[in-house]
Amino acid sequence: MILALALVISFQTNSRLTLLVTIVFLVLTLKELTIKKMVLLFGLLSLSALGVFFTGLIFYQNQTTQDSQAQAIQYGLDMAARVYCFGILGTAFTATTKIDDLIYSLQQQVALPPVFAYGLMAAFQIAPILPTEYKHIKQSLRSRGMTVGPFSMTFLIPLLVKSVRWSELLADAMTSRGFDPAANRSYAKTFTIRHRDWLFILCCVTVSLIGTMYLS
């Protein structure tokens, strides 16, 4: 499984051209997305990149008053390219990896403790329920003839209490399904790091190294 290595590369953001290379590299991975999603993604990215470009431009102009305009534009482009790169790296990661798979894999490769792994999964399970809960509380308050602003503390208390309560119930449910963090367990899906994956890591590292040395 191609894992968090995409994130590792994203720390290597020293030179602009390396970033462009990475973009091309990752667009290939983006075949997983539909055209509609691609357009939306690039639209959003371009918007923020444009913003960052001008921020970079003006910042540079203010910093060094005597320098040429070309250098300022260069700096702006540099910043904008970074936005694209981060965006695409992120998408490449989420488009190819399911969160459950990632957790399973971490558990099997990096020996992430099962308690933590399943806790994490449960948290992702619960997150989508929160908006519904928020709505319930709002309706409950209205049913009692009260209206409260959207950011009132009144919402916070029941939500907090409920989260704690859920975690208790969930722990009970897991125990009654025979979940024992200390015991040996088998895995329905196994994840291994294959030669391909090592090759991929190697490629990424060399490309970024060469890029930093020669293209800056």
Binding site: E32, K37, L40, T94, A95, T97, K98, I99, D100, Y118, M121, A122, Q125, P128, I129, E133, H136, I137, Q139, S140, L141, R142, S143, R144, G145, M146, T154, I157, P158, V161, K162, R165, W166, L169, L170, D172, A173, M174, T175, S176, R177, G178, F179, D180, A183, N184, R185, S186, Y187, A188, K189, T190
Partner: protein, 471 residues
């Protein structure tokens, strides 16, 4: 070879209970007692989930103390099916949940798919295997829970009111599945249920939870139930005032694959109206229509005002939801009742609810039955023209169900129109001035034109949600 409980002493609500019984493989026993009497506490102790309240005695399986077993070993011996179907799953879909069970048991991965398929097909839920658990109905969730017990291959099952939230048909289906499972696998079953009629020909012995645990046979329990019912005061159904509170004409709305078409109804202020119909037919959806939360066609008028022109539905309605936990907003029971009120007359109210000792506890820590009483009570203080109540008596013993209905009837007498959605037809017949059976108004073809803006917006927002999640 049996589950043996010997002089097991535990405390629930300052009351000490001593239980002694044994359960042989293939046998069925049931526990009977008022809500909040410690039935769930006993189950939690037996399932090894908590020692809370336990003081002395022993509970063993095949002469081995349940507490000495490892979690893994215990799970294959004894399984608990929870009261609330919403909070008993750890994974995303039924298939993942079943795989999780098998992983916990350390079953070889190559055997897993077959076992999962077997369990799914036994419970008739193969079609639901990859649907998110959140989207399933209460009955379907309980079937998934049953499938989990199946793959765990537990020899004893503890069922904590597994049928409480289900309609007649689904209940019968679940009971039938359980009996079939019991016959083929020789499983010992211990269950809690308030509705005796579904299980009387199945349960061999009833255990009455009191200070000393008494055991009764079938006739005994029916006689007891009869005695309790006779003790209950006969409700007086008063003819409501002529003033009209809610007017419905030619109302169409969709609920799932079908739609409901209601003809003209004049519902008077002070009326107590029951609404019944099979699970998923759209009873709760009807309440949402009234609350402006679901698209509809037709006319609905509250106090002569068309609700389509009223901005805020809650100004003339209160809604008591199905799950009491969805509505609690305060940190203590007393505060829960006090919300929105400044008066201090709560003490007597608490006594009436038999919750006076718990006034400082969090509402979430009450038993399921107590939570429901509190939820209903906390909405009765607001003077409002229309009160919508969704399944108020689920998980209650007869006495308390009766009490809740009495509270609602009193509310109706003060001039409020109370609409009650419930599966419990006998109860509705005893209290309500009119019963609307939704089964009569079902139209099969989905109503196409009710896709207004709101629906489209919701559709759009879920799509955006999909975009940002993994595919």
């Amino acid at each position: 070879m049996s589950l043996q409980v010997t002089d097991c002493q535990f405390v629930c609500d300052q009351q000490t209970i001593t239980a002694s019984f044994d359960l042989k493989p293939g046998a069925t026993k049931a526990i009977y007692g008022p809500s909040g009497s410690g039935k769930s506490t006993l189950f939690r102790i037996l399932a090894g989930l908590s020692q809370e309240g336990f003081s002395s005695g022993s509970y063993t399986i095949d002469a081995q103390s349940i507490d000495d077993l490892s979690v893994k070993a215990r799970a294959t011996l004894i399984s608990l099916m929870f009261q609330n179907p919403d909070t008993q799953f750890c994974m995303h879909t039924p298939r993942e949940e079943l795989l999780f069970c098998l992983e916990n048991r350390g079953i070889a991965p190559k055997d897993m798919p077959q076992r999962v398929e077997e369990a799914l097909s036994f419970c008739d839920i193969a079609a639901l295997a990859d649907q998110p658990l959140r989207t399933l109905s209460g009955g379907q969730k309980q079937l998934v829970a049953l499938a989990c017990c199946l793959v765990m291959e537990s020899r004893y099952l503890l069922l904590d009111e597994p049928f409480a939230n289900l309609d007649h048909q689904t209940r019968k289906q679940l009971v039938q599945k359980l009996r079939q499972l019991q016959r083929t696998r020789n499983i010992g079953i211990l269950l809690i249920d308030h509705q005796l009629s579904y299980v009387t020909d199945w349960v061999e012995q009833w255990l009455l939870i009191e200070a000393q645990c008494l055991s009764l046979d079938q006739e005994g329990i029916l006689a007891l139930e009869g005695a309790i019912t006779r003790r209950l005061p006969v409700p007086s159904i008063e003819a409501p005032a002529a003033k009209e509170a809610l007017f419905i004409e030619d109302l169409h709305f969709s609920a799932g694959a079908h739609s409901i078409h209601l003809p003209t109804f004049h519902l008077p202020a002070g009326g107590l109206i029951g609404i019944t119909g099979k699970s998923g037919i759209g009873k709760s959806t009807f309440l949402k229509v009234l609350l402006h939360d679901h698209p509809y066609q037709g006319t609905v008028r509250v106090n002569q005002k068309n609700i389509a022109t009223v901005k805020q539905a809650f100004t003339h309605m209160s809604w008591i939801m199905q799950n009491p936990q969805d509505q609690f907003i305060a940190t203590t029971v007393a505060d829960e009742l006090r919300v929105g009120k400044q008066d201090s007359s709560i003490a007597s109210y608490l006594t009436q609810l038999r919750l006076e000792e718990k006034s400082r506890m969090s509402p979430f820590l009450l038993s399921q039955g107590q939570q429901r009483r509190l939820a209903v009570a906390s909405f009765l203080l607001r003077p409002v023209p229309i009160l919508l109540v969704d399944e108020p008596t689920y998980g209650q013993d007869i006495e308390q169900a009766w009490q809740i209905m009495q509270m609602l009837a009193d509310k109706a007498k003060s001039g409020t129109l109370v609409l009650i959605v419930s599966h419990d037809t006998p109860l509705l017949q005893a209290f309500c001035s009119q019963i609307i059976d939704f089964n009569l108004y079902l139209t099969e073809d989905a109503y196409e034109n009710t896709q207004p803006k709101r629906q489209a917006i919701r559709d759009f927002s879920t799509r955006i949600g999909h975009f940002f999640s993994n595919k």
